[in-house]
């Protein structure tokens, strides 16, 4: 576990994640208080990454549950392996007949089979899904429940029991209690409002787009091969793009994609022709692309003007 807030920042940095103090504090609190974190924020600000890095920096396993519409207990918690059970009964037919030898009535036969019940409903035939895995795991783990807003409200209610007691009940096997209470990270894109009950049990963390300095640091960390000047320019443009009214605002991951693409193409300044063609790495809608182009042109014009005046003053100086 972490020893202090600084420790969190440091260990996260080692895993290539620049955590603001606010994020680090919440992570530290969660690890101390043993409470789940509910991370909200726009797409592409590193919500999922937070869980991955948390696991990596603690040396824990990460177990991930991706939520989607129609996700149910069978997919999230456990399921009986019907096929395997059927196969076993087929193969063991002879053995079963042996058990039944000498049974005088149907009732007696059924009773004999019933006595063997636990063979077929044992842990051997349980297919553990992420939640059960996280609870029954021998090692401490980080459980990531991704995009919880995509799951149905009923599933959310089911999660509540798990998040408060960290135990699940499988009727045939009994109650399984967590050996190690996993660190739980839930992420949400705000497609719908989470229930108050769920929110009450979690620490809430809202991650917004980073400011210019932070974003630049992230770019430098993740794409070290990018030219410093290019990185700066890209971050400036993306920051101003976020202020526009776009259908989908570019996140950090888009910034990184763009820098990577430009670096691959050997571009080192934004005033080159090629740049407009790579815009679709950061904006994903036709209308947005047009707006982004305008903004980019504007930026290039400003930069050129600045450079022009600088060059002009140089000339004056020479004369």
């Amino acid at each position: 576990m972490f020893s202090s807030i600084e420790d969190v920042i440091e260990r996260f940095a080692k895993n290539n994640y620049i955590a603001s103090r606010r994020i680090a504090t919440v992570v530290y609190l969660a690890s101390e208080m043993r409470k789940p974190i509910l991370v909200e924020g726009p797409a592409g600000v590193g919500k999922t990454d937070l869980a991955k890095v948390l696991a990596a920096s603690l040396g824990f396993d990460m177990i991930r549950l991706q939520c989607y519409e129609g996700l149910d207990e069978g997919k999230a918690l456990y399921e009986w392996e019907y096929a395997k059970q059927l196969l076993y009964t087929q193969i063991l037919k002879d053995k079963i007949s042996e058990v039944l030898v000498g049974a005088r009535s149907l009732t007696e036969a059924v009773d004999r089979i019933a006595a063997q019940d636990e063979v077929f409903f044992s842990e051997r035939f349980v297919l553990p899904r992420p939640l059960l895995k996280a609870i029954s795991s021998e090692q401490p783990s980080v459980l990531l429940i991704d995009e919880i807003d995509k799951a149905d409200a009923e599933f959310e209610a089911f999660l509540l029991e798990l998040l408060s007691d960290f135990q699940v009940t499988v009727p045939e096997l009994g109650t399984i209690k967590a050996k190690h209470i996993p660190l739980v990270v839930l992420t949400s894109n705000n497609a719908r409002e989470m229930s108050d009950a769920l929110k009450r049990r979690c620490l809430h963390l809202y991650i917004d787009f980073p400011d210019r300095v932070q974003e630049l640091a992230i770019v430098k960390l993740k794409v070290p091969e990018a030219a410093a000047k290019l990185a700066e320019e890209v971050v400036t443009v993306v920051q101003s793009l976020r202020k526009l009214d776009l259908k989908k605002t570019p996140g950090i991951s888009e910034t990184l994609d763009w820098v990577k693409a430009l670096t691959l193409l050997n571009v080192n300044s934004l005033d080159q022709e090629l740049v407009t063609e790579t815009l679709d790495t950061i904006v994903k809608y036709e209308g947005d692309v047009r707006k982004a182009q305008e903004e980019l042109k504007d930026y290039v014009r400003r930069v050129r003007a600045r450079r022009g005046t600088e060059a002009g003053s140089d000339k004056d100086f020479l004369n």
Binding site: I5, E32, K35, Y82, L203
Partner: protein, 470 residues
């Protein structure tokens, strides 16, 4: 600390942030983990445990600042003001304070505690004293601006301001007799004078801050509610702007509600074919049941908006509302009319809702300065655009039906209704005035499935809600 957190939680609640008891307890244990020394960590601890909605974060930030630093900040500012008035640098001020202290040791034996703290610039202790006094006079019950004076006086009385005043006056008299050089004496005197004023100032500002705490959110809510109930026709320029924001917010809310509703109703009848196929791997034993997915048809909408002067605001928001909900419908087509009728669907597809509205209402598409003629517009719609209407289309007409005594041509509406799934008429006029003067509402109403008054945003919201529900 516990007490303070509980009070802070109450304050949040008063300002519309839902904080449960469990969350307050969490906040308490979280603040134990982070400790109080580091302000930012403490703030984050409270934010993570008490505020669970991104939209409530600004309220929290504001209240935290006011509550946890408010008084301290005020006191600091006050003493800074004193320092500035004496025009001293930090170092000089510190030295001066040392001299004050020396003087106080000699002369100020019979000063009250608060007076000493005030003169020695001990802000932490002063803060505690003032808070105690505030609790004694129940300052947290303050609600209105006019109560400020009353509470300021009560607080001053509780703190014994009169006594402090007298003591400082006495101190000044003693100062006269002291032998410490004219310059220092003058400075000292000014200092005493200003300090006394500063205390008065602190009390007043503290009281005002307490009142402000209580109505940050209230004001905001009231404003939006008022706008919701206010008739479109009377909106001022300023309110129109705020209205945009309200429309977007309502649209978002509606979208959430509808999406959930659609998801709920997804299971249909038992699907034998798929169940058999799916369970082949279990030897035909039906372990997994399959159900038909019930298809929910998204409604198609055709909107006819009257954009003559009298109802333009209503039309504007109707259009904006419907277009911000576009993905809830499979198809939206919109027409605007005064006398001529013109389609503005393209216009919305290619522009922002806001720009599109401007273009649509500017008069390029139809002459918006003509006199309303519903009959003429309907007849043109039937001859030119009837193809837009089919049995899945809901037709919404938005207008006041003030026809300037032209021919109403209500048969056009009947024709439209025969082809459409539903015809809804929204009238931004009060129901009482329908049918009077040149209003043809009574003639049109029989040919509509639903006629609603739609004077303000809340009514509009309800109508659209019913609409998407199908």
């Amino acid at each position: 600390m516990q007490e303070k957190l509980v009070e802070f939680a109450n304050l949040l609640r008063e300002n519309g942030v839902r904080v449960s008891l469990a969350e307050t307890l969490d906040a308490f244990s979280a603040s134990k983990v982070t400790g109080l020394a580091e302000r930012d960590a403490f703030r984050t601890a409270l934010r993570a445990t008490m505020v669970k909605r991104a939209s409530e974060l600004p309220v929290f930030e504001e209240l935290f600042d006011i509550y946890f630093s408010g008084l301290g900040e005020i006191i600091k500012q006050a003493s800074q003001a004193v320092q500035n008035a004496l025009s001293m640098s930090d170092q000089e001020f510190q030295k001066f304070l040392d001299q004050v202290e020396k003087m106080l040791q000699k002369e100020g034996k019979n000063l009250s505690e608060l007076a000493k703290q005030l003169l020695q610039n001990k802000s932490g202790e002063m803060e505690r004293k003032i808070r105690e006094a505030a609790r004694a006079v129940k300052l947290n019950g303050i609600e209105r601006t006019i109560e400020e004076n009353y509470f300021a006086r009560a607080l001053a009385r509780q703190l014994g301001l009169d006594k402090i005043e007298a003591e400082i006056k006495q101190l000044r008299e003693q100062l006269e007799k002291m032998d410490i050089g004219a310059e220092l004496k003058a400075k000292m005197e000014e200092y005493l004078e200003r300090r006394l004023k500063a205390l008065d100032d602190i009390i007043r500002r503290y009281v005002r801050m307490e009142r402000e705490k209580r109505d940050i959110k209230q004001k905001e809510d009231q404003r939006l509610n008022q706008i919701g109930e206010k008739s479109f026709y009377y909106l001022s320029e300023e309110e129109l702007k705020k209205m945009n924001e309200a429309v977007t917010r309502l649209a978002q809310r509606l979208k959430n509600v509808i999406t959930v509703r659609r998801k709920r109703s997804k299971k249909g009848r038992f699907d034998i074919k798929r169940t058999l196929r799916q369970n082949l791997e279990y030897g035909g034993v039906p372990f997994k049941l399959r159900f038909e997915k019930r298809k929910k048809e998204k409604p198609q909408v055709v909107i006819l908006c009257d954009v003559s002067d009298s109802v333009r605001n209503a039309s504007r928001f109707m259009l904006q509302f419907v277009y911000s909900l576009q993905d809830l419908y499979s198809r939206v087509r919109s027409f605007i009319f005064v006398a001529d009728i013109g389609e503005v669907t393209e216009c919305f597809r290619n522009n922002d809702a806001k720009e599109a509205l401007d273009v649509a209402l500017k008069g390029d598409i139809i002459n918006v300065y003509a006199h309303s003629n519903f009959g003429y517009a309907f007849r043109n719609f039937v001859t030119d655009h009837l193809g837009a209407v089919n049995k899945r289309t809901t037709v919404i007409v938005l207008g006041d039906a003030r026809n300037n005594y032209n021919l109403p041509h209500e048969w056009c509406l009947r024709e439209i209704r025969q082809r459409a799934k539903k015809v809804i008429w929204l009238n931004p006029e009060s129901r009482n005035t329908w049918g009077f003067g040149d209003s043809e509402m009574d003639r049109y109403a029989p040919h509509c499935d639903l006629v609603e008054e739609c004077r303000n945003l809340n009514q509009l919201y309800r109508v659209v809600d019913r609409l998407v529900a199908g």
